[in-house]
């Protein structure tokens, strides 16, 4: 068996795995970036103790109870508090003042993973005096990630490490005002959780569900192929109020999206866009 042949088998297995998840459960990973998806499927093979991707597919086809674990492994749970502090500083400076003119503010964090960025945002909104009138929809494809995010419990180290970034993001209090620590874990203050709605939402299959003044979708689109990126961006544009804001990850941009002309760029460095009013 040549190396090339081995690759072929893996490609077939990945295809079958994707097809199985789609037809059995409706999760559609066909338009995910194939290289990174394959990497994560390989990791799943290890965590599931399966010998091959084929065996992993077999397990998932017959044991629905293990699906959430697989979805969690396939989605992108990596983040940290105040990741890309410049981006948060930009929200605080350029976006918050514009949000003040709305009686109620809806923010959609698409792909919230375990919630680090959602809570970071809630902290800055609190300090800007905006949180009372804000509703944050934090959505993710993975029910496991959502459950962990909603619990609001993180390794204490995660918050300790975030102090510097919190400062660069423009934080004005002490980060420790927002959590209680016991043993090696920190629990986010319930006050900070009160206006956050965690909900399952799949950018591949689901539609617009809210009217948002600000949408954050950072480091999610890079895992999608172009058609899927375009679908998601179109849905963001449809969800935003006139002149609403969209914030992408630092390595993402709208340049090649058909929806590009619906947006104007506010800050290129932090990939902050604003929906143009359509007359």
């Amino acid at each position: 068996m040549t190396g090339e042949g081995a690759e072929d088998i893996e490609a077939i297995e990945v295809d079958l795995f994707v097809e199985a998840l789609r037809r059995r459960y409706g999760y559609d990973f066909r338009e995910y970036n194939r290289a990174s998806l394959t990497r994560r499927i390989r990791n799943l093979v290890t965590t599931f103790g399966a010998g091959t991707i084929g065996q992993l597919t077999d397990t998932l086809l017959h044991d629905a109870a293990r699906l959430p674990e697989a979805i969690s492994g396939l989605s992108v749970p990596v983040s940290e508090f105040f990741r890309d502090p410049a981006s948060f500083a930009c929200l605080r400076r350029d976006v918050f003042p514009a949000l003040v003119s709305y009686p109620q503010v809806n923010i959609w964090q698409a792909g919230c993973a375990r919630g680090e960025e959602v809570y970071s945002l809630a902290i800055l909104l609190t300090e800007a005096g905006l949180y009372d009138r804000t509703r944050i929809y934090a959505t993710d494809i993975s029910p496991d990630s959502l459950a962990r995010a909603a619990a609001g419990i993180f390794p204490a180290r995660d918050l300790r490490d975030a102090v510097e970034r919190y400062r660069s993001a423009g934080g004005t209090h002490s980060l420790s005002d927002y959590y209680h620590s016991r043993y090696e874990f920190s629990k986010i203050d319930t006050q900070l959780m009160r206006n956050i709605t965690f909900a399952e939402h799949n950018l591949v299959t689901d539609g617009v569900f809210c009217e948002a003044h600000l949408i954050l979708c950072r480091n999610v689109l890079i895992y999608f192929t172009n058609p899927l990126q375009n679908r998601a961006i179109g849905m963001f544009a449809d969800s935003l109020v006139r002149t609403g804001f969209l914030c992408l990850g630092a390595r993402e941009n709208l340049e090649f999206s058909p929806a590009r002309e619906r947006f104007q760029i506010v800050n290129a460095a932090t990939q902050l866009y604003r929906l143009k009013p359509s007359y």
């Binding site: 003119s101 109620q104 206006n195 299959t205 007359y279």
Partner: protein
């Protein structure tokens, strides 16, 4: 090198011109006759040749005499080919002095004509050559050709084209002093042929009409048979740039005359057409501010006229008001008219019709009503919003504002909520009850509770809280409305269909746009709609309104989601059979089953297809 290039280009031009000429002579040249505004054509000539005049240092003037017909029906492209040739020659053979063009009336042609005279101060033509100059390959002599170039075919083609258009080209010249070429054209193609053609095609007047054999209108561009002799003495020759024109299409001369009087008294120029075809042609030519249109017309009727107007991007924006003997207002509205009057009409009716026409005209000033009890606040909005194209009116109470709206049409209302007497909330509810479609921007000095913004959001989606950055957003919101109300409203609310009127519906959704859009549609059907923005509030609403007949339930909501809310509702035996339609953005396998399992009677995915929703509501409200 340049000589070779020039010769090549010359040869090519010669071949093209020979082909043209042979086409004309074989009767194969196709004409497309359309109304052409003479002033526009004159401007185009100016544009085409000004640079040449400047380059050669020649004076170049174009004069349109007051008696020149303002519009002729002809083939624009062919006409331009002729005038380009005449002007090209004039510039070519003139080294110093001037080239002038004069547009005048020409009495030589039956039915009226236009003369275009091109006069130059060039080399002129010797008398014995004057006749031959229109023959193919004739120039004054061979040396002329060497010195001035050209194929010698231009004038031959021009004259044949002019004849094809029903006119002619003639020349007067003094050798050494200059020449005058005179092109004459009929105002319209052969009147007799046209009348016959119109009669023959009366039921289907939009088909192409052959002007005169062997010429045929090309099928892709339907030629309109249009009368250009004034149906009544109207203002078409008086129209100056900046004048606003109202077009009246009405075959009853006496009635048309009285309409003209009213329009003129309002300061507009009038153009009148006695039949639909002419009306349509005039709409394109004069780009009127508004059109008063009769339904019963000879040939093309009013319905066909408005249909053609709305189909054509060039005329789509022009507001149309019907004046007719038959009452057919709903059909008129459907066709895109801004209003409908039934004859006989009073002076007041016509004034109202004119106001409506002007209200929907694209170039009129937009009217904004600012409702605020604080004069300083009104002043600051005025300062922010007022401009040359926006007129501000002020009202210091909701009562005043309603009185003003009873008398005037406005495009947008900027509303403060804290008013003496009737509150801002009551005001928007009262507006909706009156069937008003005027957009409202709330400009509030204080924060709103979620309940308050929910209550408002059923009527408006523009709420601006005053603050440092709010003037910017207020301006955004207002200009958005002022720009988007270019045309008459396409959906007319109120007028309940009847079958759903009075039914009681609870709409549960946290997406304010859905609340706004759906409640508008449902209220338009006469349904009593109550609202809730999450599951907990829905339960509270049901407790307060146990007579609710149907629930529309969003799924993804804060505090208590739709699944949980439906479960809670079903726990109460009184609501065990209450129809609940789940509305969801989720489309994954099993989502439908999940809704039904949670207690939904039916399921509709977002974005909501309104006709589908309505028929679903009908099904569930039908009593078995």
């Amino acid at each position: 090198m340049s000589i070779i290039h020039d010769s090549g280009a010359n040869l090519l031009r010669l071949i093209n011109e020979i082909l043209d000429l042979s086409k004309v002579e074989a009767g194969k040249m196709e004409l497309v006759r359309e109304p052409l505004r003479v002033a526009d054509f004159a401007r185009r000539m100016e544009r085409n040749f000004r640079h040449m005049a400047d380059e050669k240092g020649l004076a170049f003037t174009i004069d349109v005499a007051p008696d020149a017909p303002p519009v002729i029906v002809t083939d624009d492209g062919k006409l331009e080919q002729i005038t380009n040739n005449l002007l090209g020659n004039a510039f070519k053979f003139t080294a110093s002095g001037s080239v002038t063009v004069a547009f005048t009336a020409c009495a030589d042609l039956a039915g009226g004509g236009l003369a275009i005279e091109v006069t130059d101060s060039g080399i002129g033509i010797p008398p014995h050559k004057l006749d031959a100059i229109f023959e193919a390959f004739e120039q004054v002599d061979a040396s002329t050709r060497r010195q001035y170039g050209g194929t010698g075919l231009g004038l031959a083609i021009s004259r044949r084209l002019a004849m094809l258009l029903g006119g002619d080209v003639t020349v007067r010249s003094t050798e050494g002093a200059g020449s005058t070429f005179r092109l004459i054209l009929p105002v319209a193609a052969d009147a007799e042929g046209q009348a016959a053609a119109r009669e023959a095609s009366a039921p289907k007047p939009r088909t192409a009409v052959p002007a005169a054999p062997p010429i045929a209108g090309t099928p892709e561009r339907p030629a309109y048979t249009a009368r250009t002799q004034p149906f009544l003495a109207d203002d078409r020759s008086l129209i100056a740039s900046g004048d606003k024109v109202v077009l009246i299409v009405e075959d009853d001369a006496a009635f048309c005359r009285s309409l003209m009087g009213i329009v003129r008294r309002k300061g507009y120029r009038v153009v009148a057409a006695g039949d639909g075809e002419t009306g349509l042609a005039f709409a394109r030519t004069y780009n009127p501010t508004g059109i008063l249109l009769d339904v019963m017309l000879p040939g093309m009727d009013g319905w066909q006229v408005i249909e053609a107007l709305k189909k054509d991007p060039a005329t789509r924006h022009i507001p149309v008001h019907f004046v007719s003997a038959l009452e057919e207002a709903p059909r008129a509205r459907e066709a895109g008219a801004v209003g409908f009057l039934t004859k006989p009409v009073s002076q007041a009716d016509l004034n109202g019709a004119m106001e409506r026409l002007m209200h929907f005209a694209a170039d009129r000033r937009r009217q904004v009503l600012v409702v605020d009890d604080d004069p300083t606040a009104r002043f600051s909005v005025r300062k922010l919003v007022a401009s040359a194209s926006i007129e501000i009116h002020e009202a210091e109470s909701a009562e005043d504002a309603l009185a003003f709206l009873g008398q005037h049409e406005v495009d947008c209302i900027v509303l403060d909520l804290g008013l003496p007497g009737m509150s801002g909330f009551q005001f928007v509810e009262e507006l909706a009850a009156r069937g008003s479609i005027v957009p409202v921007v709330i400009y509030s000095a204080r924060d709103l509770t979620p309940e308050e913004s929910l209550r408002l959001r059923a009527y408006t989606d523009s709420i601006v809280i005053k603050g440092a950055r709010s003037p910017e957003r207020l301006l955004d919101e207002v200009s958005l409305f002022l720009h988007s109300v270019r045309h008459a409203p396409d959906a007319i609310p109120a007028e309940p269909d009847g079958d759903l009127a009075g039914r009681r519906l609870l709409l549960v959704d946290d997406d304010m746009r859905n609340i706004f859009a759906l409640s508008k549609v449902l209220r338009g059907k006469g349904i009593n709609v109550i609202l809730a923005s999450d599951g907990t509030k829905a339960l509270a609403q049901l407790a307060d309104h146990p007579d609710t007949e149907i629930v529309l339930m969003d799924i993804m909501m804060p505090v208590m989601d739709g699944y949980e809310a439906m479960g809670e509702i079903r726990k109460n035996p009184a609501f065990a059979k209450l129809p609940i339609i789940a509305l969801t953005a989720k489309a994954m396998t099993g989502d439908r089953e999940k809704c039904i399992a949670a207690g939904a009677s039916d399921y509709l995915s977002k974005p909501i297809d309104v006709p589908k929703l309505l028929s679903m509501i009908r099904v569930w409200l039908a009593r078995s």
